[in-house]
Amino acid sequence: MTVLLIRPDSWNLPLLLHVGGAMALVASVTVAAVALLQGWRASDPAAASLKRFGARTLLYAGIPSYFVMRIAAQWVLSKEGLDNSNAAWIGDGFLAADAGFVLLVIAAIVANLAVRRDPESGLGKLAKVGAGLSVVLIALYVFAVWAMTTKPS
């Protein structure tokens, strides 16, 4: 018995968009997390600049990347005929993607709200919540990569 390593050609484009979107999502959230965490440690005006950069990255890079990843995921499932599958790894993927989206939106809102309320000062409570959520998201994405690659039953 061998593992199926070569997939039908028609699955490749949606898979490329799914993996590419996921990579862009992880990179965006990590850039935001690093900027916000560094802003936490920095003093003004560097902290204000880092806060703004992190908040904008979540909004303009993180959320669009999420949609590319998520829409392509549904496309891959449809191509593979797994729309109604109860496989554990698919459930794990949905959990990470959908719960992660809620956290991503909250992180983007609170970080951008912090910038709007106080654009020239350090992180403040709201942006610190955004920083914390970004770190939680990175952990969730590592779990998603584990589930997608190892496909636990």
Binding site: L5, M23, S28, T149
Partner: protein, 145 residues
């Protein structure tokens, strides 16, 4: 036997893909630094992101090639002589050279306050194109039977 083999393949794939995600994350940080350097307002941001990118790039790229080669050796359906694997290794060398140069340049800016390299944005775009072609090669596996 099958279970053990499957487990080994899955674990190696997870480690290889996670390393690739780390590479792309470092490239994202490199791009963020280059964009931040375009305006005086965000120049402090660039200096704060550089040390993290300088760690993630070498770690991610080294682990990606180690686990990638291990994966090719581990599974009988792959061979290091396959065209798409050779292409991936060549792209990895090109990407490694660009990323290494970007990382060294940013480290210099951070440590000595030297002026930013004006070609950094072009090098960032070249790195992103290289990583994108590498991803296409990994997904489509041209020439694989």
């Amino acid at each position: 036997m099958y279970g053990r083999r499957r487990m080994g393949y899955s674990t190696l794939l997870f480690l290889h893909v996670t390393s690739a995600f780390t590479m792309v994350t470092a490239a994202g940080l490199f791009l963020a630094i280059a964009l931040a350097q375009q305006s005086d307002r965000h120049s402090a941001t660039a200096l704060r992101l550089a040390p993290v990118a300088a760690i993630l790039w070498p770690v991610g790229s080294l682990l990606a090639i180690v686990f990638g080669v291990w994966l090719a050796l581990h599974d009988s359906q792959y061979s290091l002589g396959d065209g798409w694997i050779i292409a991936a290794i060549v792209l990895w060398v090109i990407g490694g050279a660009i990323g290494g140069r970007l990382g060294a340049g940013y480290r210099k800016v951070t440590s000595s306050g030297a002026a930013a390299d004006p070609s950094a944005l072009v090098m960032n775009l070249a790195l992103i194109v290289t990583l994108l072609v590498m991803l296409i090669d990994m997904i489509y596996k041209p020439g694989a039977s």
